[in-house]
Symmetry: C2
Subunit: 194 residues, 2 copies
DNA sequence: CCGGTCTTGGAACGAGCGGTCGAGAATGGG
DNA sequence: CCCATTCTCGACCGCTCGTTCCAAGACCGG
């Protein structure tokens, strides 16, 4: 009964997420978004509201399409320690100078916006809780299997691993050297050893 | 032989550093700087150059007045483990919801700018190397004294502690809860135990 | 094949951005 | 005391920001 949209909102949102992921909130202009989402300015505003609302939608989308799968992957079968070390080592491996990985959108947003945007803070906090709990779950499984020492609670270890992940992201932004990241991850994983 | 400046450049720079520290580079306008530095716009430009140059000067100043003393404090006398745990625990303690601590300017800048500003990246990388080496030094001392196990090299532990510090800063931005930060720091410090 | 409804494109808005400029005030050497 | 020099002040520059608006275009039920 009326003209249909010429674009897929989900895809456009995914592209917006990519831009925010790469450049951050402040450094991304609406023109950047228009260019990279491939839609018109008016369509952007009528579909997603203003820049801030679009950013919130991008955070939610990130939570679904990046954080979610990562946490799910943590529940994969196999030795718990290998699941965890696999995640950390894959991040070190992916950090080549050429790739210029954008790190983690939640980490970036935590640093850039959390202190002056409660809506962002709420989403970031929830995301990190989810990651912590995902880690805690696999740690508990590893402890039950006798792989991981029980001197620390799964909850504490989960929180530690979540924070250690944030640290890794920051380090990899600041320092391209794989040696530094390898040393870091090696010590992080050593807390799971007897 | 001419009219002298009515302000102390060092003090003005310190105030600029505070603003950048609190709000980040992009979110700080020149007007913000003019207001908070207490000097005129033209004085700002004639003394510090453009916004980018001023930011670089602020980074250098931060390195001197914040990073430097912190690294020095790491070389204080007393049991090495207590020196390290004191640093971490003081950051947890300082993180009350009311204080709204601005975290670490180097961490913030690493996340916000490192990927698109080589001059920032250089300063951030150097700063983190300094912190890593500071940690490594006190770790080595602790190992020689038999306080800290020697299963990991001082260099690796130094790099780990530096990264763990970044993680702590991000966590404290994202989550006001002291329980989370305490759990995190507890596990971090556990790698220094036998 | 028309009419109503929604999308699209692009111009335009005021506000604020980073940065500049010229006139006037304040200084200290000669 | 005077003048060259420097600093201070606020207006002002062109530009880009996020956002709005409207006319033209595209669609589909009737």
């Amino acid at each position: 009964m009326a003209r249909p949209k010429e674009f897929e909102p989900q895809i456009a949102l995914e592209r917006a997420m990519d831009v925010f992921w790469r450049k951050g909130f402040e450094a991304t202009s609406v023109q950047d978004l228009v260019n990279e989402m491939g839609i018109n300015r008016a369509s952007l505003y009528s579909t997603f509201g203003d820049k801030h609302s679009l950013f919130m939608a991008a955070l939610d989308r990130y939570s679904e399409s990046v954080t979610g799968p990562m946490v799910e992957q943590l529940q994969a079968e196999g030795p718990a320690k290998e699941v965890i070390s696999g995640l950390f080592r894959s991040l070190v491996g992916g950090t080549r100078a050429s790739e210029a990985q954008p790190g983690c959108l939640m980490t970036n947003s935590a640093v850039e916006l959390c202190q002056r945007c409660p809506e962002t803070a709420e989403r970031v906090t929830k995301s990190m809780e989810r990651v912590s709990k995902g880690f805690a779950k696999v740690v508990a499984r590893g402890q039950e299997a006798g792989e991981i020492p029980t001197s620390q609670s799964p909850r504490a270890l989960g929180r530690f691993l979540c924070g250690a992940l944030q640290g890794l992201v920051v380090l990899s932004k600041a320092n391209q050297s794989r040696a530094v990241l390898s040393d870091y991850v090696g010590v992080v994983l050593s807390v799971l050893e007897t």
